[in-house]
Symmetry: C2
Subunit: 543 residues, 2 copies
């Protein structure tokens, strides 16, 4: 890559090799991304006629017509399966009959679901497994939950392709599929930059194409507080970048939650404290710790003031609202990067340290604060997720708390995985997938090559790694560059988290498949950037 | 940046400092980017009423109504000056009269141009200087050419701002402005990825907001040949990614040229040879050198075959077409990165080397080839621009040839600048602005801090540096990520190339101005990515 990084141009040799690979980008048999656990397909292909194509519920299925999740999925997937069809000529065009003669046989996608949870929300234990059997005239899709059925519909939609004459085909295929990890998250940061609602909804769409199932909403932080709280409206009216144009109303939030639900995606809210709370101070005077310069307040503020009982009362009222607004049974409580300088400078905090017998160990103070917040959350019948810092300080926290690894060198990350799981805590791995860190070149291969379970530990410990998360921090990202930075780079992590590592270990094998999948994303209107030199049959049109 | 590059999150201290800076992002007096050579503005401001605002030609102006360049500029700049006005309510809305009473005084932008070149094209010597004087009810804009008037209109449009109630204002201002460098280029690469026409046209729009004046169209290269040639239609029908969807027809090309002309932008075509021509071979058998493996051809091809007279006949016919299609008096002939391996392997080329007495020095062969191409171009009355490699090999090339520096360490670049200008050649500096090289963080500061004339040489030598160029190579860039990668990062180079280095040397002073300019770009529909944490009053809407 030397020449490349110096001149941004590649040697002909490397170029030819890669372009040679490109020609496999549109294979005879359409691949599925992320790779299913088991897939076998033959060269036998069946033509599909959009006008002779139906979704159906099988007789035995507990979900039947009226199932909101699947009915809307059918509506959504028809134009995704028959891309270009609606756009190019619309379903009722005259020449449509010539192109797709009614004499064609009917093709049915028959869905069978065991437990119909059509009005519920996906949760941490929801099964997403499914079986898909595509034969002449029939695609039989079986799943134990509607969430599994959604994953199967996504896989089916990726199996359909058009030949050069525009005819749709699907090959004879057998798929038996389930996710490797239960938690496959993507974090968006709406505090460093405000993301308009459409940007969030489009991200949820793309997440579902990648089989991500958790939207980690890092909704507030130091720079701004866009969440419009019912209990504390001043937090956004004074703490957001703008009280009207740069906030998420309750309506906005419920739109995000229901958009996500229909795609089998959980919405995990993060209320990060005691640090990362500068913006909170504007709407909630007295919450943050006044920093002192010698004997007098300096006028600046630090983390939430852990010495005041009012802080905990505020937090418990805020968390009570959040846990009623967000249906998920988990809440992310943050707890990262607490700067002790301001606490140390404050006489009230110093006095509290004495009173509590913490001496001068401020990690004890942070522990004390976080324990309180975690217990508040527990009383609200929610399970806590916290950044690894909370474990690193050895707080006494409930054993069902989930730790979130966000920092360290590869070796440090392995050690952290070992020690956290050894202590019996469940863990989510985010550190290797800080996707806001961009470089020129094919950095997707880095995200693809991560081995989440490659650390010293027993089988039992490995089971405690419940998944991973792609993090898109917002310092340099807003609606202008979110999509091309996310996709298809995050797709590499998506396959790592869903698929069997043994069958997806080769970057070279993955390259033509992810290149083809990126073209699929483009066709679906996702502004997914190119992986390397080449083209898609349909380039991005949204210019 | 350690913490940032490790964790993608910044310390509160740095965050606060930067956010503090942000508050200067919308100054009382609107700044102009790139910074004019001389600007003085007072706090006196005049309200502007869109319904009482006119563009006029002064009586003495040689350009009058009917001047295509300026008439269309007036039409273009009205909605740019009164952003939100057309969109929000349209010019004829009822409440418009209430908001903008007709009793308001008329405000006129009166344009005076010395030489009316209304139907011509901007060229290498076109003056772009202008004087702008904004006072009560009048903005007097004087320029010697229509191209200078365009620059003045852009500056005026940036002076206008809205207060929190939506009222438009402009402050009393005096500007005397001219570009530091005559050549301020931006390169797009349409071979590694095809860029749909709208992506190119939108880039030209954004270039004009940044006062760039040369669109360097690297139109063909190894991966694809999208230029649809009249003389050699097979080049694109066989060498493009797709013969219909991924080509530039003659109509497309003339649209680009006229769109650029109306914005005072030259279109400089690059026909890069003898290397970077793999895609040419498909449509022009016999042009490329067959590479040999021992005694037999290996089936692969190298650069254009310099031993065949047919190669030069082909090139002269192709260049003849190109020089008639593109009106600019310059043509870029490439000449970079020629790999000698294939030439060395080919018996015919070996024989030619003997015949010419080049011994085994293949740089002599490349020199011979490039001299021929440059002379062909000279006969077509065009001036050649070539990449620095051509100079490095000491070819005998006409002294009016322009050298284009694209590689090397800062020190190497300084030496190259010294030696090229010492030899009396004019030079364009591109190497420091390879903007396809992305990193996390504020890399715009790197592009901003370049000092193009910081090399050892006489005043006469420095004068030979005619400008610089931002290069967006296409390995990892297409329509999905072009705009956010270009803007506002290229804007940093734009100011360096237009403005006085002494008054624009501080990155800290530039930060709030470029942050504000980036919001201006957003308002104008340019998908310009954020520079750092913060927000714009109007976020990007094109989601």
């Amino acid at each position: 890559m030397e020449e490349e990084t110096n001149y941004g141009r590649l040697s002909n040799r490397k170029l030819c090799f890669m372009v040679f690979l490109m020609f496999f980008a549109v294979p005879a048999v359409k691949a599925v991304w992320p790779m299913p656990q088991m897939i076998s397909s033959s060269a036998d292909r069946y033509p599909l006629n959009p006008r002779m194509f139906v979704f159906q519920y099988s007789n035995g299925s507990s979900a039947q017509s009226g199932c909101s999740v699947l009915d809307s999925a059918f509506k959504r997937y028809f134009p995704l399966i028959f891309t270009g069809y609606m756009r190019a000529e619309g379903p009722r065009q005259h020449d449509d009959r010539i192109r797709f003669p009614l004499t064609d046989a009917l093709f049915s996608v028959v869905v069978h679901v065991k437990e119909a949870d059509c009005e519920g929300y996906p949760d941490a234990d929801s099964s997403e497994s499914y079986q898909l059997s595509v034969s002449s005239g029939l695609a039989a899709l079986k799943a134990s939950t509607v969430w599994g059925a959604l994953r199967g519909l996504e896989s089916f939609s990726q199996l359909v392709y058009q030949d050069d004459f525009g005819q749709y085909f699907v090959n004879k295929t057998e798929i038996d599929d389930f996710p490797r990890f239960k938690f496959r998250g993507l974090l968006l940061d709406t505090s460093r930059h405000y993301l308009p609602l459409p940007a969030i909804l489009k991200t949820l769409d793309a997440m579902s194409y990648n089989k991500f199932n958790v939207f980690h909403w890092h909704i507030v932080d130091d720079p701004s507080f866009p969440y419009q709280s019912i209990t504390f409206p001043d937090l956004s009216s004074k703490g957001a970048f703008h009280p009207y144009t740069h906030v998420y109303t309750q309506t906005d939030v419920s739109r995000v939650i229901s958009h996500a639900r229909l795609r089998g995606i959980r919405v995990l809210p993060e209320i990060d404290s005691p640090g990362h709370t500068q913006s909170w101070g504007k709407g909630q005077p007295g919450l943050l710790t006044p920093c002192y310069k010698g004997p007098a307040p300096s006028g600046t503020y630090g983390p939430v003031n852990p010495a005041k009982s009012s802080s905990y009362q505020f937090m418990s009222r805020l968390l009570k609202e959040v846990s009623s607004v967000f249906p998920d049974s988990y809440i992310h409580l943050g707890g990262d990067e607490v700067d002790f300088t301001c606490w140390k400078s404050n006489p009230e905090v110093q006095g509290f340290m004495q009173k509590m017998g913490f001496g001068t160990d401020y990690t004890k103070l942070e522990s004390y604060y976080m324990e309180n917040i975690v217990n508040i959350t527990k009383k609200l019948n929610k399970t806590s997720i916290v950044w690894q810092d909370v474990f690193d300080y050895h707080e006494q926290i409930p054993v069902d708390t989930v730790l979130h690894i966000w920092k360290g060198s590869p070796t440090q990350i392995q050690q952290e995985l070992s020690s956290i799981t050894l202590a019996g805590y469940r863990v989510i791995l985010a550190a290797p997938w800080y996707i806001n860190h961009i470089t020129i070149g094919q950095d997707w291969t880095i995200y693809y090559s991560i081995q989440p379970l490659n650390f010293t530990g027993t089988e039992q410990q490995k089971k405690l790694v419940i998944g991973g998360e792609v993090c898109m921090w917002g310092e340099y990202v807003d609606a202008t560059n979110l999509s091309p930075r996310l996709w298809p780079r995050a797709s590499a992590a998506a396959e790592r988290l869903w698929s069997d590592e043994r069958s997806t270990s080769s970057v070279t094998d993955a390259f033509p498949r992810i290149t083809d999948f990126r073209c699929t994303l483009l066709r679906r209107g996702v502004q997914a950037e190119p992986l390397y030199v080449g083209h898609c049959r349909e380039e991005y049109g949204g210019i």
